[in-house]
Symmetry: C2
Subunit: 208 residues, 2 copies
DNA sequence: CGGGGGATTGATTTTTTTCAACTAGCGTGG
DNA sequence: CCACGCTAGTTGAAAAAAATCAATCCCCCG
């Protein structure tokens, strides 16, 4: 998932966060936006009892939350480490007010996100665990316009995948084993390599 | 769910569609935007085998899809009848280019949608059937800033509710019966009246 | 050479779906 | 005006999907 890519002034306060550090908290006042310079972050919402849904992942170039809002709609936590430049919200607003292009760019990226969300609603609401995992692998592999599918980022734990797909780690693990047995993927350490994109794609929209 | 509310020129082509008529089809070129004048529409995505996820509902004042996109990200179908004014996509673009306010307004409404989507991801991915239905009833009742909770729109069938929540009609029906037994709601015909908002709200974020 | 966290696997339970029967309105046409 | 038939809704029983509970396993790191 790619997030807002704005022409951000680079003179903002630069900060670093280490593995698992939460640097943005759901529902707190959105005083800053975070422009990811390096590393990655997981974006998630939680329920009071700890259940967690990963909304997306942020990478170099993404801005969080990247669109106007009074409070952060989700939390963000560093995967490995992450470097960000912090941009005060008023600066973003000022940017929108003065530069006509900035507003249009934000709108553009918000719409891109929105369209992706629609697909994820369909996935979470109506697809089976097997279909969801196949879709996830394809989606991850497709990041970057490369023709060949890339392996899944080893920074993602099984729990991350599970929380992204609305499943448990056990279910994810079992399905990965099944896919492995079916020679759709190979696994080395955490990295998952896609062996048969076509057959994976066929799974995504097929009942059995 | 409320959709984009833009200052649309009212001189567009006015059209009417009757119950169940699909007037916007997922993945076809987005040549028109539809400004809902009266009635309502269900917005949905489908899988090849017929599984359906309702993305949202559109009412008077909403614009579909309301944000720039080359192809419609979902389909729209009339509930009861619906009256719309059709606005060619280029007009929308022109509006964004010329009026700075228009672009900001679109961004605003896109963000509002986006924030709602995040919550729905959490709901579909991590909440139980019971919690989802309770959330839905609260959400429907809260439409309009009224303090009192309104009954659920009788134009919504059980299938609509199920497809919105990622459940089956049977599950929805059973849960509604349970809620009725627990005196949380009352039913007359299709309309569902909320009797105990507080207890319903308590269900939303609680594991039993 | 342990120790520990994540991952995998297995057995069992729970939740939800599926399949099936039945019921209640509602509109239509005899 | 009433009976028929249709569609939507409800309910029950059985099946399936996924979660939960419980053992290991496997690296990686100290």
């Amino acid at each position: 998932m790619s997030f807002a890519q704005l022409p951000i002034p680079t003179d903002g306060l630069k900060r670093s966060f280490s593995e698992r550090q939460e640097f943005m908290t759901e529902n707190t006042p959105a005083s800053m936006h975070f422009h990811v310079v390096s590393g990655g972050a997981r974006l998630f919402k939680s329920l009071p009892d700890g259940r967690r849904q990963i909304i997306g992942f942020a990478h170099r170039g993404d801005v969080l939350p990247g669109y106007p809002c009074a409070r952060y709609p989700y939390s963000a936590e560093a995967m490995r480490g992450v470097q960000v430049t912090c941009v005060p919200t008023p600066v973003i607003h000022h940017l929108h007010d003065t530069s006509p292009g900035a507003c249009a760019a934000s709108l553009q990226s918000a719409c891109h996100l929105l369209v992706g969300m629609h697909s994820r609603l369909l996935m979470l609401g109506r697809q089976t665990a097997r279909e969801r995992l196949a879709a996830f692998l394809i989606g991850q592999g497709t990041r970057m316009g490369t023709h060949e599918l890339k392996p899944v980022d080893p920074a993602l734990s099984r729990a991350d995948i599970a929380d992204f797909l609305g499943l448990t780690t056990e279910t994810v693990s079992r399905l990965l084993s099944t896919f492995h047995r079916e020679k759709l993927i190979s696994r080395e350490r955490r990295a998952i390599h896609i062996l048969d994109p076509d057959r994976l794609r066929a799974i995504v929209a097929t009942p059995e």
